[in-house]
Symmetry: D2
Subunit: 354 residues, 4 copies
């Protein structure tokens, strides 16, 4: 209820502040008998971790996960899987400059209003550091769904965006550049742009697109828990996300029905896929694809005016090691959340028929 859990049958609950001792989580409901590929988990963590390239924050954190339960002789046992990631880079900073002040477009102000006070060391619980735990859980969810392929990539940075639909691109290219964009030329331009933005002490937003191939037919529940509704919630729960669209998305709202309807082939597949692999909230076996919009990071390496707790205007100076653009690191987080949703609905779907 207090919002630190995601999922029902395959559920993850997380804890941890950016500058606390450790982050961690519990995965409850992972079916027994899943062979765990620990390297794949660490690989996804590495795709998310700080310091991985010249266009992300230069903070260093190994982000190594330690599993404490629920896995025995390399396989899940059906009991809850506990894990922690120690915070090794929690320097005893001087936080006096942010303790009593509210950074613009951060959660500082609302946390104080909601809870009466806050852990003012860094972002506390509202830090995106929390997403490391999502990546761990999502990596296991991917292993529950071995036949399903999740691939996210960067499709836009600021005003720069892919100009081809994903079907015309080699998505494997995405992981070969530090932007994680499947068009090598665009990737290069985006990289230069992010570096330029960083020099200015500024930040920029972007879009991550995710394509899920080989989803079983029938996942999703009618009415409130439609598959795309849960995917949307999952994505919107990621730090800095401002929008979500699937299939034809906002563009679809400008279309006519006669253009938008997906005609059937005789095998039940469809000739077009404006539906984005989901009809009536239920997967139809076609590719699921969606876009996730990320705002520019709020922390600038610039000086600015803001207010303190008493409403006085104070001068602040952004400093530290921050991301000029979050989308390259957000790619594995988007995949992780997508995998969590599908693993949950996959198990739930087993109860659909007698």
């Amino acid at each position: 209820m207090a919002g630190n859990s995601f999922g029902n049958l395959f559920k993850v609950t997380t804890f941890g502040e950016s500058h606390g001792e450790a982050l961690g989580g519990i995965i409850d409901g992972c079916p027994a008998g899943v062979e765990i590929d620990f390297e794949a988990i660490q690989k996804d963590l590495d795709r998310r971790k700080p310091g991985q390239s010249a266009i992300v924050t230069q903070r260093k954190e190994p982000d190594e996960v330690r599993f404490l339960s629920g896995i025995f002789e390399g396989k899940t046992t059906g009991t809850s899987i506990g894990f922690i990631i120690e915070n090794t880079n929690q320097k005893s900073h001087d936080y006096s400059h942010i303790k009593d002040s509210y950074r613009p477009s951060h959660a500082d102000y609302v946390y104080d209003q909601k809870y009466g006070f806050r852990d003012y060391r860094g972002g506390g619980r509202s830090s995106a550091r929390e997403t490391a735990c999502r990546v761990v859980a999502g990596a296991i969810a991917k292993q529950v769904l071995r036949d399903v392929n999740f691939q996210a990539f960067v499709s836009a940075v600021g005003e720069m965006s892919l100009d081809k639909p994903y079907e015309e691109l080699d998505l494997n290219v995405a992981e070969s550049n530090i932007v994680r964009c499947p068009d090598a030329e665009k990737a290069s331009e985006m990289e230069s742009y992010i570096k330029e933005i960083r020099k200015q002490g500024d930040t920029v937003g972007g879009v991550v697109t995710c394509v899920i191939k080989n989803t079983p037919i029938g996942l999703g529940e009618p009415v409130f828990d439609k598959l795309h509704a849960e995917l949307g919630k999952a994505m919107l729960s990621i730090n800095a996300v401002k929008g979500f669209e699937y299939g034809s998305g906002f563009e679809g709202s400008r279309m006519k029905g006669s253009d938008h309807n997906d005609k059937f082939n005789t095998d039940g597949t469809t000739k077009t896929n404006f539906s984005g692999g989901i009809q009536g909230g239920i997967s139809n076996g076609m590719d699921i694809y969606f876009n996730v919009a990320f705002k520019p990071v709020a922390t600038l390496i610039q000086s600015y005016e803001t207010i303190d707790k008493e409403g006085n205007i104070v001068e602040m100076q952004g400093k530290g090691r921050h991301d000029p653009c979050v989308v390259p690191r957000a790619v594995p987080i988007v995949e992780a959340m997508a995998a969590l949703v599908l693993a949950d609905y996959y198990l739930l779907n087993r109860a659909s028929k007698i």
Copy 2:
């Protein structure tokens, strides 16, 4: 779990097929002591009901709600509120033409795959008729939150869209025209366009925008249950919705941080509101606003080819009384879902501090 409930502390569960005997629902967790304005509930139902104007389906349904429990001497008692809406317009149609065939971009195919068979009379459970129950529950949620103002309106129909931000419009204008657009001139153009589309037997999509004023500070939970994540899920669960964005939305992904950050006034309000009234997933007291994209209705009044259960190609002829564009009727549904989310988080927030 099977997806017919929404909310936690303020929870609605619904039932009913488009051509069954009745629709209905149960609201559980409505606090005791709320004085119920029955006229306001019916008024929202009337805003959603078929046959209300020349640009919506001409099907006639009174959509009168009968409350069966949980209200005593005009006030909620704290116990569960049961209600039903009888289906008065369920003619004994001949459904043989759709019984064994799959209409494109409908849920027919996936229901058969998921459940083994389906109620083939109209849309069954996947019909938007189900949203009448959401409107009932949402109207009560609005009464739990008497000081909060929910106003949705049509901001785009097909390619035609508002060209001013909502702050520059008189939103009250929306309810004075049948499109529910707050710009009277645009409304008139949209109306003509929808009529033209109808003549073609075609349909068109559109966008509903919702503005929520006077939200208490502190609603929303960090991490997975961010306020906008739940709002997004709520909206994406409405039939035909393809996208959701709040605050700066997709446009925000193209901005720089130095432009996007919302500077504070000394009273804690902000000078701009790219955040859309939500920071870190928690309401900050500013206006909450968001856009919801609706695809064009899949049912066309045209003949077309599709497949039957055996994969044979069959000729179908769309007929009946369908909406050429859903957004005018979707306006009260968007408000209802928004009210459900906020009522739930309003009660939950009471547990935030000792």
Copy 3:
């Protein structure tokens, strides 16, 4: 959260006051394809209904259930099943005698304290009339689990109790007498005793025992959601229940381990069954059996002193048509709740292994 739902994957939510217009409920998560035996449902309702014999309340209610959705061509569709039971016997009583007073050992006082006021017509939501909806849902749960046999019966009325273990009795005898006791002679004595109690305007408690045969192995979840923990909650949620024990129960607490351990046969069954069919919270395939203790009904047909809202002592006179002993009518309710638990865990267990 507000407590009108039971179950997770197979979930029932109910509404309705004893003297409101109707009772009803929604079953969410019933798998598709269950052939519904409507007679069996009505038969269980008839076993619970008032006026069925000389030893229960003489109030007359037909308790006929009307299904509104979720069943099509005789089978469940996988969508939510809505149903209502009209209250036909809600005479416009004069309630002034209880409106402002608190009956001892009823919920009147605590409802006023919790909610600020209450529906004072009869028991309102706290009336056992609500259990009719449980019986409907439970009867469907039994049909989900066609191979499992649920049989409850009366094992004690006041000080009178069965003196043989259930294995030595023909449980079918229970339904052949109005007490629902499987020992015909005991049943006759109990019947006489209940009649005597009624003449005195008094009431008496009793015990219902339930035996579940042919449960699949593996139902139940370790730790908090052990099968017997959920069965215990289910039983304790029935009006007037004061205690629950399964297998060896309280007697087991007086035993030594060397006597209590259930030795295995070579096929995995056990030679004794002190475990009551559940080990470590998980069914082992042996008979599940448990006892449920019911207090004497609080409504006496006697005059007594109590207090009103202002704390004044007032004279009240119990009147009306009440049960002198609830256990004969509680038998189908116990079965229904047991079936709800098992159906839920049966579906959940499908997610245990990959």
Copy 4:
């Protein structure tokens, strides 16, 4: 869903096997601003830990808890509280004797059936070692409810039981003897008896009684989530529990209504308390009291025959350091679970009225 969580608004989720690396948990929904008394937490852990006296298992575990998040400057922040307890005493035993065999009245057999295999080192997840995490969470729940007093004690060991109602005893005596029985003389007899049982390599059951004083009026939800139903589930979820009764309990089922009804005093308190502080599932401010029956521990220090996975009869020899009677160590666990239930309902009750 998979049963490793308890509670809704105040929710604990746990992980850990008896012989894994560590146990731990996450408390989600603890309100912000609770000052944490770490000594009180450790004190409750010490009351549960092995090796604390001559009548419990002589295994040595310090059971020290390490908090990783959610507490800042001595107070809860409103975010999730993660904690771990390292397993320091997980010797690399030889488990070959139990790996392929099923100990009677343990969960070995059903785990293999349910999950396909099991962590055979000790009890794995079914070990009562898991309850250490419950004690941590319960100790924090007690601090949320500072004005409520939870006191559990041993009221029976085998055939020996208290012969006075709790009101006539000084409950503080319980913590002054190793049995945790509030009658010093009985405690001495029980201690001798347990020592005798241990010498025989046998075990014995017992009863823990819990008294809760000063509960606010209004906790509990009508219908399915009655306060005593949730207390019952909480207790029945503890390892080895076979029965639960509150207030008059099973004895109440043998009484007449005229004796059982609790007459009111003019201040709303009652002259007797057969109701056990709960009416209609809602607390009435009187003492809540209940009994919890524990079976004898299944592990005997004796040799016995059982079966292996293939159904062959094998000879086993119980060995190791086991409790001859669990009730002295169960006392803080019962209190912890009671505190978890009440903290959850206390927060939930804030949503009862507008």
